[in-house]
Symmetry: C2
Subunit: 202 residues, 2 copies
């Protein structure tokens, strides 16, 4: 039994969040998913649908797994002191901290990725980099793992990273089973990234 | 500008719903997404997180696109008269009706797929079939298109089908752009389906 906090904010990217939750939500993993936000009112994704908030930031920051999506809301949230404080405490306690897409900018911005390898979505790679001048940004990677931090490329890449995280925590066989049940063509190789070339990063 | 109704019910499958909404929610498509449910209270997915309901079934059934996810809640909902009535009316009006995974059983159950080709998730293929004895069930397909009905295989297959639907309605180039922006490795071939073999269907 593990707990997972998924941080949400207005204009988070829909699939950044729900792709990984589909994977971590597998009943046999027994992960309790908590949607965490600054306020208790439902939070709209970039695409409109609103998610109900289970706990506010003020209600605690101690979870085993911490998950941060990206999306058009990120540029506002990097300035959000409540989120920055919560993430700092949550990251300290968690055994694994994950960021998808520009979620990595939120982690980098408060120094969590300093001296570490990390990646972010390829379309906004140059936008994300200045938030972490001490980060070793990897331009071509589906996802990157460095200590207790895992960061992925854009949107759908979060699913591949999550399966990578599940393989790390529960074993490869479990990750393969979950991918199979979702009829998902898992990109098992974290260096697979044709999008880096498309966006001129390599 | 088009309207899309996404039907939800307790224990819908998370990625069945949100993968497609990520695709149809692309801002340039100008699709207005409405989360529709029997009651106005938030609806929990199979994995716990709750979605806010925008409109109840009673508030109308006229949308351009109708979307039905699957999930462990399906066996209960096939018996739900309110959903069956709504789907019948909604399908009549819509230009495109889509079902992911066991969402196809909900459509088949009220005769909407009679005399048509359709597919469903591979793990529950044999469970779904009896709901549509007049349906030409296709065991090996990522998704199947027949007239204004599109049905996909399990969970992640809904993303591929949605891009197929976007290609049909807005053109292939638009679908390619959306896949690229989500850094998604789109399975463009609707006959691609390695999972059918795994589950002994071919």
């Amino acid at each position: 039994m593990k707990t997972l906090a998924a941080l949400v904010f207005p204009e988070f990217q829909t699939l950044d969040l729900y792709g990984p939750l589909e994977m971590f939500g597998d009943p046999k993993l027994e992960v309790e998913i908590t949607i965490v936000a600054e306020q208790s009112t439902p939070v709209p994704s970039r695409h409109g649908p609103r998610v109900v908030v289970d706990k506010t930031l003020a209600e605690g920051a101690h979870y085993d797994l911490v998950f941060v999506p990206g999306g058009p809301g990120t540029p506002v949230e990097v300035e959000n002191a409540a989120i920055n404080t919560w993430l700092t405490v949550a990251a300290q306690h968690a055994e694994l901290v994950m960021g998808v897409c520009t979620g990595a900018a939120l982690l980098a911005n408060i120094g969590l990725l300093d001296g570490r390898k990390a990646t972010t979505c390829k379309e906004d790679f140059e936008w994300s980099k200045p938030f972490g001048p001490q980060v070793d940004w990897v331009p071509q990677a589906r996802w990157v793992e460095d200590g207790k931090f895992m960061t992925s490329s854009g949107v759908s890449a979060g699913i591949d990273m999550s399966l990578g995280a599940i393989a790390r925590l529960w074993g490869k066989e479990t990750a393969e089973r979950i991918a199979l049940e979702a009829e998902y063509d898992w990109h098992r190789d974290p260096t697979w990234d044709p999008f880096a070339r498309h966006y001129g990063l390599v």
